[in-house]
Subunit: 108 residues, 2 copies
């Protein structure tokens, strides 16, 4: 129900599926075979990945070719960028915070 891209990838088997699809589009059966998973579980995981917008499906005969979508990865990258100062600024802000606290009135 609540299917955000992040929580979709957080599940270990879905992570494996995503990493497999990183190398190119694959049909369900091949995914199941390579990852040693049962077909129904793979279909269910793909359904969730699809609802999260992480993959898109292309029907070819009876096969369904699943393909990664770029957007959620771009978005995740953008979100990560907002943390860039975390590792770029050598001086962390802890000392700064502690300094601020010194000026505040003491609890009673």
């Amino acid at each position: 129900m609540l299917t955000t891209p992040l929580s979709a990838i957080a599940e270990p088997n879905r992570m494996r599926i995503v990493e497999l699809l990183r190398d190119g589009p694959r049909p369900v059966g091949e995914i199941a075979g390579r990852l040693r998973l049962r077909q129904p579980q793979v279909s269910k995981h793909l359904r969730i990945l699809r609802d999260a917008g992480l993959v898109k499906v292309h029907p070819v005969a009876q096969k369904r070719i699943y393909q990664l979508q770029a957007k959620p990865f771009k978005d995740l990258g953008s979100w990560l960028e907002t943390f860039r100062r975390l590792w770029e600024s050598r001086l962390d802000t802890l000392d700064e915070y502690l300094q601020d606290m010194k000026g505040e009135p003491k609890p009673r």
Copy 2:
């Protein structure tokens, strides 16, 4: 139990906590106040974030100042990099895959 950084961030309230800490270290009470969460839940979430290596705690008197850690974000960035060709190569590999399957010439 299985506490990976990704699954830790995937939880909505923990995501909010992480985004709050992005602006700087904060004690538990302030996090609870700003996010309108109850203190025990915040402590529990912080515990999980801490087990996942996302935050570090600095005791100051009775307060515990929580601070984001850079490493997991760097790691996530590195992992995300492995998907870069996804959105850099405008030509996706779907046609290529279909061609392999059918043995047909690429449609024009």
